[in-house]
Symmetry: C2
Subunit: 345 residues, 2 copies
Amino acid sequence: MKLTILFGGASFEHEISIVSAITLKEKLSEFELNFIFCDQDHKFYLIDPSKMKAKIFSKGEYKKMPQLTIYTGGFTQKSVFSSKEYCGVFLNLIHGGDGEDGSIAALFDFFSIEYIGPRVDASVFSYDKRYTKYLALARGVKTLMHEEMSSSVHERVNILYPVIIKPSRLGSSIGVSIVKEESELDYALDCAFEYDDSVIIESFIEGVKEYNLAGFMANGKINYSIVEEPQKNEFLDFDKKYMDFSRSSQVSKADISDELELKLKQNFEKIYKNLFEGSLIRCDFFVINDEVFLNEINPIPGSMANYLFEDFQTSLKLLSNSLPDNKRVRISYEYIDSISQAKGK
Amino acid sequence: MKLTILFGGASFEHEISIVSAITLKEKLSEFELNFIFCDQDHKFYLIDPSKMKAKIFSKGEYKKMPQLTIYTGGFTQKSVFSSKEYCGVFLNLIHGGDGEDGSIAALFDFFSIEYIGPRVDASVFSYDKRYTKYLALARGVKTLMHEEMSSSVHERVNILYPVIIKPSRLGSSIGVSIVKEESELDYALDCAFEYDDSVIIESFIEGVKEYNLAGFMANGKINYSIVEEPQKNEFLDFDKKYMDFSRSSQVSKADISDELELKLKQNFEKIYKNLFEGSLIRCDFFVINDEVFLNEINPIPGSMANYLFEDFQTSLKLLSNSLPDNKRVRISYEYIDSISQAKGK
């Protein structure tokens, strides 16, 4: 089947989106793939699959490739005498800003483009860690205690040290620090505020058990990946996580009880259902005394968490065939007509 | 000052957006106005201000006017030999779908267009009544008890009758019914599910006190409108509300205590701050035994709630000059470069 991968974006995670796209090129051999690159100026380019190499982008060589324009149904390549169209199903593989903040989702919805990826509302709830907390609270999913802080108001932290400081709206560990005592706090806040004017502060629990679970809805039921216990140093820094986005070999299943696996899936479902339809997401959980806490939602996980699925290609085909309808409202003008009639004109 | 009003949209509230735009044309005499109409097919047209009449749209005559394309910074009108550009500050006046669901916000952000209106995240929290509840819960603002129901699962209602049934994602009373006893429930649900596959069910309190308050952030502080006690029949039906969008004469201040006014403003601020910057919103509150409950957030109120402001034109100018920055990330490619170097290529 045909699939067009959109990657890049004006995002701090621009480079890992390139890595993700290159990885998926290898993993999706059964697909007929097109690649569309969104550069930092929000221009779109059609990338020849044989040119899908990191240097093409870092050296600006992509600019020699055909530029595309978004239109109703897909993208179009205009030349003087003709135009060529790229439509069908798209995969939104822009990590971070643009891809995960709802911009690309809204663009695709507005231009009636079918896509795999979180819709606008799902993006908002997963992109901003504050709103992930709102969602979890409302849907009965536990999260760690936290405080919010904005760059304009520095307050005292009331959570016991050590704490972890995270910019509210970034993934991939960018701007994240662990703070062991109050004297280190200001520096860590400055680092985080470089990336966002809002941060969240959470308890940091050394050696906490972490489990990742991915899944997607198809034909009315959620298809789960295996549960993974991620390798970690103190936490994944950006370099490490960057490499992580190029993962392609299947990992082994975490050694956990059936009961815990069921609990993780129940929490995943509470988050996913009636919000994330159309996307394959990865939820990262903490487990403390057998209780499950949501850490974060990755609505466009690195290389689509391919390594967590036994048969990734079949999974992606299943999802492609279960995308939400995007019904457009038709306008009748009956109110304007009835008012005009009442006025006798 | 210059201002371009975007109105219409593929929305059940398309027609009231037209009425709103016509009303604002009269109210904003000190502005140099442009009008851009988004039709139900998501095509954009430049409308001559002298042609801003309801019939132009209902009879399809707008199609004879110049078609525009969105581009970085604004809209452009292309002809064979030249192109004309429309940029500057925009006012998103598309009520309901497209305008209030985050689509237009994302489009404007993506194409670096400066605009008055809710950003993507603010849109998501106000457009869907379920998410308004999440926001209120997280920010310590009371709302009435409610239940959610989806079209696929009909459950028993546990709230005492009478109840009010509302589609989760529509404004302007479309699809809303009051249900006095269980026998009327199925019909009311069917009406609501015609518009949305999710509804919320709330207690309906006859004769409850209602107060509306609008406001916007400029220069770091919220500028409030007067508090209005809206006129009501049992509740505003669509015909009534439709007329309501053409309101332009200033209303009188509700007769309430300073203490209650302060409470309303405090609740408004909890909702607005760190989310609705860039927009002028109207919050509709219930007051029961001196306690304030949020009913709904109108992030693009009908005719911008002009009738609630003593000096609406000055207010809009103030807001235009306090719009949030939309900083775009610059990409350094330092990770790709460092990896390429490590690999020796």
